[in-house]
Symmetry: C2
Subunit: 405 residues, 2 copies
């Protein structure tokens, strides 16, 4: 008998019919002799509906009140879901964030979980009741309702699993698991059976939107296994676990891409100490996250500086940089948005040389020019012309033998 936390996303509870089907799945898990704790998202589309209501009243909604509004989405799901279980003769009870309680800081719309008191949930389990918890929401010390930001229900599920000492946290979604790359681009993409937290973090932050990144960080910190799987089939999905030896034999676990990048270059910057800070401090002050930064030394005391920012922040960043360039006496600022980033990820890289150069070779063999490169211990990323994105992904997927996994 295991203690299992099951989290179902918005698509899985997107209609009354689906809520009933998910209830059947939960009951089956319980009847197989397990203790089950359920975490639910809002029904698909509901959070967006609520946000657009808010924006009609207030273009920049008050964060505290927006949280009060958005929290109703999960409240509806857990009430209906509990009814579906009870209708089937199985005891279930809904828990809102404040009822558990799931205590967070007071950063409305992007709060962080600080503490979960699991006593009431344990009591419910001991009485044979299925606790059904609202994902995405919590409560501050001052009893204000908070939400955890997009995808926050994953974090709720993992944090609950840790607090309860669960054996596994199952994240149900509308895909079968984590794939070696985007199946929409590369039909030969394969489901990954087992992946390390580190790899998953790189996959998630690079655009494989299966798991919310904070939930993976949380699981990694406490060693909680996550099972990402589909609520529409019984097939096992992808286990996200601590790195083990078997993983190291695989050089590359996945290929990801992001079209959400733009590039800005400052030419002929006077190369003095403190110059990078002069450029990047005003950008970070504008809440813009800079991803890759490359600095090329040029003749004399001049240098070129190139970096990437999220596409929606491109215009703002460009304006800032043009202003700074004048102040620091740089010659020219240029930028473009027709770029994308392709990455290969794998813990096996740590112990194997030559993975990066193989990547460059594959891209070169397909006539794809590399504009920027950045590497980390388990990742190599290349910025390329956006139009080559799909070609690059397919080439890398094939080149590293991922379709035979």
């Amino acid at each position: 008998m295991a203690l299992i936390v099951q989290k179902y996303g918005g698509t899985s509870v997107g209609s009354l019919q689906r809520i009933k089907r998910v209830a059947e799945r939960v009951i089956k898990t319980k009847e197989a002799g397990n203790d089950v704790v359920v975490v639910l998202s809002a029904m698909a589309g509901e959070t967006n509906r609520l946000i657009s209501l808010a924006k009609e009243i207030q273009p920049h909604p008050d964060p505290r009140e927006l949280d009060v509004l958005m929290a109703t989405g999960e409240q509806v799901s857990i009430a209906l879901f509990s009814m579906a279980c009870i209708e089937r003769g199985v005891e279930a009870r809904s828990f809102l964030g404040f009822q558990v309680p799931i205590e967070t800081d007071s950063a409305h719309t992007k709060a962080r979980i600080e503490n979960i008191k699991a006593e009431k949930l344990k009591q419910a389990l001991a009485s044979g009741i299925i606790p059904v918890i609202a994902g995405f929401q919590g409560v501050t010390e001052g009893e204000n309702i908070t939400t955890l930001g997009r995808g926050g229900s994953d974090t709720t599920a993992v944090a609950l699993a840790v607090a309860l000492g669960a054996d596994v946290c199952e994240i149900y979604t509308d895909v079968e698991g984590v794939f070696t790359t985007d199946p929409n681009i590369c039909p030969k993409a394969k489901k990954i059976d087992k992946i390390s937290y580190e790899e998953m973090l790189e996959m998630a932050s690079l655009g494989a939107k299966v798991l919310e990144i904070r939930s993976v960080e949380f699981a990694m910190r406490y060693g909680m296994p996550i099972h990402v799987r589909s609520s529409f089939t019984d097939a096992p999905g992808t286990m996200v676990v601590e790195e083990d030896e078997s993983m190291e034999s695989i050089l590359v676990s996945g290929v990801t891409y992001s079209k959400n990048e733009a590039r800005i270059t400052i030419n002929k910057v006077p190369d003095r100490p403190g110059i990078a800070s002069k450029i990047f401090t005003p950008i970070s002050d504008a809440n813009i996250v800079v991803d890759m930064i490359i600095q090329n030394t040029r003749e004399g005391d001049l240098t070129d500086m190139t970096f990437t920012v999220p596409k929606p922040d491109y215009e703002t960043a460009l304006d800032i940089v043009k202003r700074v360039a004048k102040e620091i006496g740089a010659e020219k600022v240029q930028g473009d948005t027709d770029i994308s980033k392709v990455s290969i990820i794998g813990v096996g890289m740590r112990n194997h040389a030559g993975v990066a150069s193989k990547m460059f070779e594959i891209l070169a063999n397909h006539g794809i020019n590399i504009l920027m490169i950045s590497t980390s211990e388990i990742k190599v990323s290349c910025v390329i012309d956006e139009k080559y994105t799909e070609l690059a992904v397919r080439a890398l997927h094939e080149g590293f033998g991922l379709e035979e996994r």
Copy 2:
């Protein structure tokens, strides 16, 4: 400077446009130098939408979970309303039942308010913030969410007004106030400027659905003045207050009717002690509320017993009575649903004889046969053929001079 509790019903906050307009009204009251506390219902139609979702999952929804579900309706209203105030530059803060807290018993879907801790609201007022409270909901000692039943937001508003020591509780609705009778039936119906709690209770329970009956009881117990008025105009509405001498000079304040009655007669019941209890105990055990009861003595030791029940309970009541009739040896059971009840109400009746007989005379002059009569200190009710309802209401309204008020 006064402390005013303003409650807005579902129609008044039925759209984003209306929410904005109501916010303007609240702000105007505040800017006139008053402290304002706002209580809101769910947007019109929302509670019914949620209930029908629940019923698709569970034909008889679990009461605890139904409360969790229904409570989201008011949560949405108060968040959007607070945003509307903040957007106008006026500080406002939403409060859910558990945040006030509004403590209730644990009778889900029909809970009773037991205690309101008003400290947080007083703090908000002292800081110049408009507290915006979710009507209709509360929280139990065990932190379960409860709802107060249909019209419960009125009770929330009055209970808050009492807890805060407000000067008046304004109940905003989509009509201009309490009328001498239903204007849909009698175009000459007049708005009543001032009415006593007792009269309002009789009006409410007899079908003038402007105020929820429990809220009037609550206001009467604590002497809290209620001002029933329209959110669509600035005109004063109806003050519901303690009886004063001016009211006694008016014989009849209003004419009400109810078509929601059915009549059951048991003929030739053996007239023994305890026979009434034999008939009515099983009916009340079935949760059916009996309204009027009339017993006529017949020849010998036989009696006829006639009573009314709500129309939806008619079939069930009839079945019960037929069973009981056999047991007690009554001759026959008959019933009909084509009846209605018309009533005249007025505290002036207490000190004036002849009001009832004038009512009978007016009905007789219009050829309306009276089937049953019941009287109380401030009310006379007659059961008549349903088809005469409108005629009777108009005749009584004119006969007692209500159109000249």
